[in-house]
Each structure stands twice: as structure tokens, then as C-alpha cells.
Symmetry: C2
Subunit: 279 residues, 2 copies
């Protein structure tokens, strides 16, 4: 089953567009787990057990495992294996190197870790994305417009293409969105668009139609959640993967951390579904 | 000692601007090493032993180690520890995530692996680069203009900044170069500029003065090496780190692979020094 099929089935079964980001920072994991032989894995296991019927995907973030060296890599691999096969795993790695090197990253992410999807940087262009796109059943989300302040430094700059297809210029992230759409021959590319830019999300969704969009940056406040859901989903109210990490997994530092995580995930799922009804 | 001091000392001692890229692809390593307990490390050890008096830096590429999972991470750590302390190590990782995540990558690269420098992607802007730049003694090379065909997809697009400081627009890679120069408060940022763009390298060098530039993509042919050296070095004939990977480390698949690697490195060093004389 390819990523899109797996995602749609999980979203249907769990009635959910929620993706939980496993940004499992050792410094924030409840102290009661600190004596485990594999704290990262034990923490993730509890979070997964408590939320597996509420999500359409999990998204472990490589950085939080890599920082632990080879032991961290082992915890990550165990976590990915622990996630039930019917829930897709997006390994958030944001790699971006020349083709020869990205071939190795793609092999690591899709073969060694056996995940269903990943995130990549667009900066090196088409031949850098190709080694990921060659895995036809896997989905590759290309960074388009990120949720952080630095998005303004380059992504929002006006770009003029030569030969110009748009005399007025358009921001870089839109050029990225358009090119990724053009490159999407295998129907296995997607975009990452931060929840902090709802108006731009609307334009991107119109541009890429039913391409999957991974949307991080939904805050504890949930301020713009309604807009994010209405603008970020496709015409069928699908194809958005709405990620929340810290607000869910670190909802409590006490013994009940997994139940608190469940409550947060449930709330997010219900708020999303509420917003979908109004679409 | 910070990266720049260490690099200058190594370059002086070995009379060399050569950086050897340890892109140690298991599929290309001589078969005679395939029965080692740690093939990647044994291969690197031999390459380092044969070339340590000919380089200004080594640059292991993370992808080729990560693909081996936790065992690969161990090989990489052993390799980095094996490189003598007077030769700087640039860990080529090209990471690029939001600040919170890049903090973990910076910790991994500079603390867990204990390297002197790394490479990062600019796409997420200033706050994504900050966690690396906070390590004042370490050098962070920001991707500017890469050597691959996909460089044209985004890096070469004309950008118009608003409020415009350049009414005529300029290519994205130049905006990146200018911003990195502006952000270089700690004098610990650099750029990556591919050897395949010598004319652009000249402009970038003029723009950033004596900022370190890491230059990959010097081919077996060595076609543009003369221009790369003359345009890429600063006014003192320094601050360029000229990288060659596959052409050196895979010069032979036979028992003499390390000596063949030495010959290639020696040739590159001498050709660079020849070109420097004509500067």
C-alpha cells in the first residue's frame, strides 16, 4: 500500500487528520522514565499506546534521536517498528544534498528505517529530490513555507523567473510549490506549509489541488486551527496532515503524561473535525 | 583553537588547501576490506594515514554513515576521533530545520561527534542558523551555490528584495551570500560554493572578502581548477577549502588504494599551489 492509501485509511479509521510529532527531547521526558534502559523508546511506546486510535500518522523528528548517537538511532528504529503497520510513519529529516548523497539518505530513511514518508529541503533542486521520488510508494514532503520567523529571509522574497512566466514576480515558496507540482510525475510528492501562514496555505492548496500537505506549527493556543483546516484540506476535507508535537507529547511531566497526551490529541482531533464540518 | 586558526595552521603546515571528502560508500570500498569488523572505519583509517600530511581538512559526509544505522554512526565517530587533532574536521550534514530542532543537530555535530565545522541549508533563514552560530569556535558553512544541475531551479532565480536594496534584482544565491555576511557577527560563518560555477565564485569572493568558502565539485578532470583557486581564495591565497571526495578516496579498488589516493591528493595539492603562484 502506498503512503496516500495508508494515510487515507488511517484517517478514515481514526476519523482524524492529527499527526503526532515524536520530537522526543530527553530533557523534557518525565523523570520517572529516566531509569529505563531505553528512555526514548519507552516514552514513545507509552505515547503511541495512548494515541494510536486518534491519529492519521506519526512523525518522529530525526534530530532528537541523532543527538544520542548510535543509541539514539536504535531507539528510533525500535519506535518505528513499534508503530502499528496501518499507521503511516513520516520520518522528519529535512535532508537536502546532491543526488549522489541524497540516494544514501533515501536508502536510510525508506529502507533502513522502513518509513512511509519523509521531508526534504528544496534548495538543491530537482535532481536532489529525484532519489527520494524514485521510491514510488513513499511520499516525499518538500519544504515550501516553514512556520519559523526565518521563513521571511528567503522563502517570502519576490522571485522573477527567467524566462518569466509571471512578470510581476512571486514569492520563492510559490515557485517551489509550482515546481514540486510539475515534478510530481509519480504522484508521491507533497509540501510542508507551516500553520502560521493560513492565507498562504489557502493559495498553495488552490495551486496544488489534492497534493498532500504536511502542516506543522499548530500551537497550544490553536488560534488559527479553524483556518488551517478549512484552507489546508482538499475539496474532500482530506490530504492535510496536521502535526502537533510538544503540545501533545509533553502535556504533562508526571506519571499521567500519556493520558494527558491522549487528552490533547483528542481535543485537537475534535477541533479539526469541528472545523471540517463548517467547510 | 577555533576553526579558522586550526585550518590556517593545517594549511600552512601541509602547504595545502585540499580537503578530502570521506564519502565512504560501502559499495565502492575495496573488496579486500569487506571482511573487517568495521569496514568503513578501516577504509577511512588507511585513507587518513596515507594523506594526513597533504590536507587542510577532512570532510566526512553524514549520509554514507547514517545509511548503515547505528553501526554506521559508530564508524563515523571512530573516524572523527582518529583524525589527528591538528587537522580540522568538517562534518558535511546540510541540516536545516527550525531553531528548536537545529539546536539538537548542532549538539550532535559539535558535541557528540566533536567536529570543528559543518554545513547547513539556508532555506529556513536566520533563526535556523543561529543554534549553529552560537558555537563560537566552530565554523558553519551555509549552502550558497551548489555544484549540481538543480542549482538552477531556485538558487539562480532572480530575486527582488522588498524593500528593495537592488532594484534590478539579483539571484537568490547572492542574497544568501549577503545575508550570511550580515549575520556573521561571531566571525564563524562560511559559504559552500560549487567549483562548477567559477565566475559566480569570483563575485561571491569579492562580496564576502575573507570569509571561508568550502568548494566541492573539483572533478577528476580538474578543468576549472585554476579559476577556482584564483577566484575562490582570498587576497592572501587562503580561506578556500577545496574539496575532492570520490576522485581521491576511490582512485583504486585494489590493495594499493591508499597509495593511489595519496597520489591523487598530492597532484591536487600541487596543482592548487601552482595556480596560487599565478594569482
Amino acid at each position: 500500500m502506498n503512503f496516500i492509501e495508508k494515510y487515507l485509511k488511517a484517517a478514515q479509521k481514526n476519523n482524524s487528520l492529527v499527526c503526532i510529532g515524536l520530537d522526543s527531547d530527553l530533557n523534557k521526558i518525565p523523570k520517572l522514565l529516566s531509569k529505563s534502559r531505553d528512555t526514548l523508546f519507552e516514552f514513545n511506546k507509552k505515547i503511541i499506546d495512548a494515541t494510536v486510535d486518534l491519529v492519521c500518522a506519526y512523525k518522529p523528528n530525526m534530530a532528537f534521536y541523532e543527538v544520542g548517537g548510535s543509541a539514539g538511532i536504535t531507539s528510533l528504529k525500535k519506535t518505528i517498528q513499534y508503530i502499528p503497520n496501518h499507521i503511516p510513519v513520516i520520518l522528519d529529516a529535512k535532508r537536502g544534498d546532491i543526488g549522489n548523497t541524497n540516494k544514501m539518505y533515501a536508502k536510510e530513511i525508506f529502507e533502513y528505517f522502513g518509513t512511509d514518508a519523509t521531508t526534504v529541503s528544496p534548495y538543491l533542486g530537482e535532481d536532489s529530490i529525484a532519489p527520494f521520488a524514485e521510491y514510488q510508494d513513499k511520499l516525499t514532503f518538500v519544504l515550501c513555507l516553514t512556520s519559523n520567523p526565518g521563513a521571511k529571509d528567503f522563502q517570502l522574497l519576490e522571485v522573477e523567473e527567467k524566462p518569466s512566466i509571471n512578470k510581476e514576480g512571486k514569492p520563492l515558496y510559490k515557485v517551489v510549490a509550482q515546481k514540486v507540482k510539475d515534478w510530481n510525475k509519480n504522484n508521491n510528492l507533497g509540501l510542508v506549509v507551516g500553520a502560521t501562514f493560513p492565507e498562504q496555505l489557502k493559495e498553495i492548496r488552490e495551486m496544488v489541488e489534492d497534493m498532500p500537505i504536511l502542516i506543522p506549527g499548530v500551537g497550544a493556543q490553536g488560534g488559527d486551527l479553524e483556518k488551517v483546516v478549512q484552507y489546508g484540506t482538499d475539496k474532500n476535507g482530506k490530504m492535510a496532515i496536521i502535526n502537533s508535537s510538544r503540545e501533545i507529547i509533553f502535556a504533562s511531566a508526571e506519571k499521567d503524561f500519556d493520558q494527558k497526551a491522549r487528552e490533547k490529541a483528542l481535543l485537537l482531533r475534535d477541533n479539526i473535525n469541528q472545523a471540517l464540518k463548517q467547510k
